[in-house]
Structure formats: structure tokens, C-alpha cells
């Protein structure tokens, strides 16, 4: 049996750069930063006082009563999924619900609900704790809400692999369609943990940038002055569809999901393998799985979070597994690090780079690290044909995911 081709027929996102895919992509190509100061009262006591917060609040999109029972990470997953679903034109298309699945994950889940309800428990007692608490904080909440929204009955899956979640959710969607368990999968990631506790936790690890006086310059992958990642919030969702299914209904197709590679380091709970061994294998597997020639993969949307160690290990891994020819982007320089949503948002950026023949810029790369030995579209977007491209996502726990997308 030949393996079915899988394509992307819908995109949705709500990010620090815009409330949808078009506005996010426009801002990204223009090189705009979504990072700003945290003006909340609680931020004053934190070592990190910057973040990339949503450009459009969920309350501008969903009604008040609906939002009462949604964690912020669920609300934005739902918003991105609604956009992707509408974009794919599948509503009313006669798609069998038992051939429709969901794969939407989060790195951290409903932590802000947990913390807010704990405040209520402490202040007012158990009877005042919201009856919506559990469905709001459960890690499968975003996937389940998306499944209800689109009417998916072939299974609702919630990947959790830290900052690799969004990419791994897409890889799972690819597997589901290839194995014949569904014809369409709504896949992506979501994250909303701009709250003092997660920030304090990451800051205690010394993983975050403390460039509080220059928020827009804080996320600077591969630059010598990089001092950690900038927390971002947002959601990205893709509609994956069996290629012949999409063709039969005359759907608009953005790109092909050509291959995925997933590995684990078995090395350290937070540090990447010191030679990038797991990343090298993930990239190699993705390329092999895609059947695409390395020289055609001319662009990489890198994981590049702006941390001292990880950024350079990825460069070494790319040189070994792919070669010295790709043009790189680190779009986290603009969006911050969306953790569990990063791999989904960056897959969308990778797909749009293919569609438009535009590699988005990496801003703030003013003083490149000497170990940066690959070409980066620094400061400005670069126009170039992109027949195929790679997206990397790596997560705490030693998760490595690489995805290859191609033109149709």
C-alpha cells in the first residue's frame, strides 16, 4: 500500500504579532517585535519584566459567558482553530465526523487557572472554587474544546512535549492520516502562561532574558548579546488533510507536509545533548521521511530561542544533518517563545515562506556569534524561491522534532 500524501488546507493563529495569520505574517515579514514591558503590578518584583503578549485579547473574539469556562490557553486554541477551520472550507462540506481528528497540545496547560483558583480556595474556601476549574486546567482541555467545536469523532489527542509540543502535534496528525485513521486532522499548539509563577520558575533556571530596559531587543537568537528567551503567548492551528481528499473537494492547498522526524535525547531533563545528537537524528529522520533532496530544503525556521547554548547546538546539528546551504530564520526574535505553540506557529511561518517565496527576518542579529556559520536572513526578509523548508522544535525533557514542508 502506498502512503497517502498529506497537505495543509487551513491555517489559524492568534499571536503577539496579530490576531490572525495574515496580520501575524505581515508583521513577521516586516520585522516587527511583539515583545513589550509587563505593566501588571505583579511584574515589579520579578527579575524578568518583559513578554510577548497577545496582540488581540480573546475577549475581543469570544463572548464573555463562553470565556468564563475557558482557560486562556483553551480560548486561544479555539480561536486559532475556528480560523483554520473556516480557512479550510470544511464546514458543511459533508466530511464524516468519524474521519476527523484533533491533535492540539500545550506545553504547560491551564496553569493560570490552577493558580487563580488556588487564590480563591485560600481566600474564600472550597465552595467558592469554580466548577469549571478541572476542565479549564486539564492538559487535554484545548484539544477537547477544539474537537467539540469542529465535531471531531476520530479521536482528540493532546501532545505534551514542552517546547516541541506544537511540532509534535503536527507530526502526530501526519501519522494519523498516513495510517488511515482519519482524512482530516486539526493540529497545533497553544500556550498562555504570562503569570508570575511560570515566569519566576523559568527565571530561576536563568533561562530568560532580563533585558528589561529594551524589550524589543531582548529576543536575539545567535547574537553575541543573547541572554535567554522571552516568554510569548499564542496559538497556531493547521488543518492537515489527505491530499486526494483535498483534491476531490477542490480545496486550496498551502503546502505538503512531506516528513517528520522525532527523537529523544535520553541525556538531561533540561539541557540539550551536548553535541546536539538528538537534534541531528531528528533532522536526518525528517529529511529521510520526506524523500526530499537536501539541496531543495533551502530554508530552515530554526528553534533558536535566544539562549546561549541551544542556539549554537542547533547550528551544528543543521550543518551535520542538512548541510551548509540553507537560509535560516529565527522568528522567535519577533514573537518571543510560545513554548507549546512555538512549533505550530513556526510551521505556519515555514509554510508561508514557501507560499510567498519570502524568508522572514531574524531581528536583533546585530553582532553574530562567531559560531554562526550558516546564512541567516538578518534584519530584513529575503525574497527567494523556497521549494522545501524545515522547521525544528526542541523541548525540555530532550524532545527533538523536525518537520519538512514542500510546495505542492
Amino acid at each position: 500500500m502506498t502512503r497517502p500524501d498529506v497537505v495543509v488546507t487551513g491555517l489559524g493563529a492568534t499571536t503577539p504579532l496579530g490576531g490572525d495569520v495574515a496580520s501575524t505574517w505581515d508583521a513577521m515579514v516586516a520585522g516587527r517585535s511583539g515583545v513589550s514591558p509587563l505593566t501588571q503590578e505583579w511584574a515589579a518584583q520579578l527579575p524578568v519584566q518583559i513578554a510577548a503578549q497577545l496582540a488581540v485579547e480573546p475577549s475581543e473574539v469570544l463572548d464573555r459567558v463562553r470565556l468564563r469556562r475557558l482557560d486562556r490557553s483553551e480560548a486561544i486554541a479555539l480561536i486559532a482553530a475556528q480560523q483554520a477551520w473556516a480557512d479550510a472550507g470544511l464546514a458543511g462540506s459533508g466530511l464524516d465526523p468519524e474521519r476527523l481528528a484533533v491533535s492540539v497540545g500545550s506545553g504547560i496547560g491551564g496553569a493560570t487557572t490552577l493558580l487563580a483558583q488556588d487564590d480563591i480556595l485560600e481566600a474564600s474556601g472550597p465552595r467558592r472554587v469554580s466548577p469549571h476549574t478541572v476542565p479549564m486546567l486539564m492538559p487535554n482541555g484545548p484539544a477537547a474544546w477544539v474537537g467539540i467545536e469542529v465535531g471531531a469523532k476520530a479521536g482528540v489527542h493532546s501532545m505534551a512535549s514542552a517546547c516541541a509540543t506544537g511540532a509534535e502535534a503536527i507530526a502526530l496528525g501526519l501519522d494519523i492520516i498516513r495510517s488511515g485513521r482519519a482524512d482530516v486532522v486539526v493540529a497545533g499548539g497553544t500556550e498562555a502562561v504570562v503569570h508570575p509563577l511560570p515566569i519566576a520558575g523559568f527565571a530561576s533556571m536563568r533561562a530568560m532574558s532580563t533585558r528589561n530596559d529594551e524589550p524589543e531587543k531582548a529576543s536575539r537568537p545567535w547574537d553575541k548579546g543573547r541572554d535567554g528567551f522571552v516568554l510569548g503567548e499564542g496559538a497556531g492551528v493547521l488543518v492537515l488533510e489527505r491530499a486526494d481528499h483535498a483534491a476531490a473537494r477542490g480545496a486550496h492547498v498551502y503546502a505538503r507536509v512531506a516528513g517528520a522526524g522525532i527523537t529523544s535525547d535520553a541525556f538531561d531533563i533540561v539541557q540539550p545533548h551536548n553535541e546536539g545528537e538528538g537534534a541531528i537524528r531528528a533532522i536526518s529522520k525528517a529529511i529521510a521521511d520526506s524523500g526530499v533532496a537536501k539541496q531543495d530544503i533551502v530554508h530552515v525556521n530554526a528553534h533558536a530561542t535566544s539562549t546561549p547554548i541551544g542556539d549554537m547546538l542547533e547550528i551544528g546539528a543543521l550543518r551535520k544533518a542538512l548541510g551548509d546551504h540553507p537560509v535560516l530564520s529565527a522568528t522567535k526574535s519577533m514573537t518571543g517563545h510560545l513554548l507549546g505553540a512555538a512549533g505550530a506557529l513556526e510551521s505556519i511561518a515555514t509554510i508561508l515562506a514557501i507560499r510567498d517565496g519570502v524568508v522572514p527576518p531574524t531581528i536583533n542579529l546585530d553582532d553574530p556569534d562567531e559560531a554562526l556559520t550558516l546564512d541567516v536572513a538578518a534584519h530584513k526578509a529575503r525574497n527567494m524561491e523556497v521549494p522545501a523548508a524545515l522547521n525544528n522544535a526542541f523541548g525540555f525533557g530532550g524532545h527533538n522534532v523536525a518537520l519538512v514542508f514542500t510546495r505542492v
Binding site: 464573555r64 459567558v65 463562553r66 465552595r127 466548577p131 476542565p135
Partner: protein, 79 residues
């Protein structure tokens, strides 16, 4: 407090918690069948009503409160 005042108070809570149009709230209306209040929202309504009217509504009473009128009668009797 009159039955009308209690009904108006419940209507405010139902609008806040479940988005029910206050004009739809009347003594004869069923919470679940007419006003679409699901079980989790009903818990919120009960807790908010306890606070607003200064009464206790034990869980084993809640199942007897099928309609707005049932709730008004219970609150009227307790307050």
C-alpha cells in the same frame, strides 16, 4: 423580599453566569430545558444565589430546584 425581587436577583445571576437573557427568566421556566443552564453552571448559580440572598442551599436540595419558581420558593422560605 418579594418573589419578584428574588426572580430579578436570579435573573441577574443567570445573565452573569450563563448568558441568559433576563427577559426570559420567569417562575415557570426550567433551568435546564428552557434556559439551557448546564450542570456546572447550575453549581455557579447556586453559589452566587447563596451569597446574594444570604441563604444556604445544600446540594441535596439543588436537584429539587427544577424551575425558577422552585428556587424562588426555596429562597423565600429560607430568608
Amino acid at each position: 423580599m418579594t418573589r419578584e425581587e428574588i426572580t430579578a436577583g436570579l435573573a441577574e445571576i443567570l445573565e452573569e453566569v450563563a448568558g441568559v437573557n433576563p427577559d426570559d427568566v420567569a417562575e415557570g421556566k426550567s433551568f435546564t430545558d428552557d434556559l439551557d443552564v448546564d450542570s456546572l453552571s447550575m453549581v455557579e448559580v447556586v453559589v452566587a444565589a447563596e451569597e446574594k440572598f444570604g441563604v444556604k442551599i445544600p446540594d441535596n436540595e439543588v436537584q429539587n430546584l427544577k424551575t425558577v419558581g422552585d428556587a424562588v420558593s426555596y429562597i423565600e422560605a429560607q430568608s
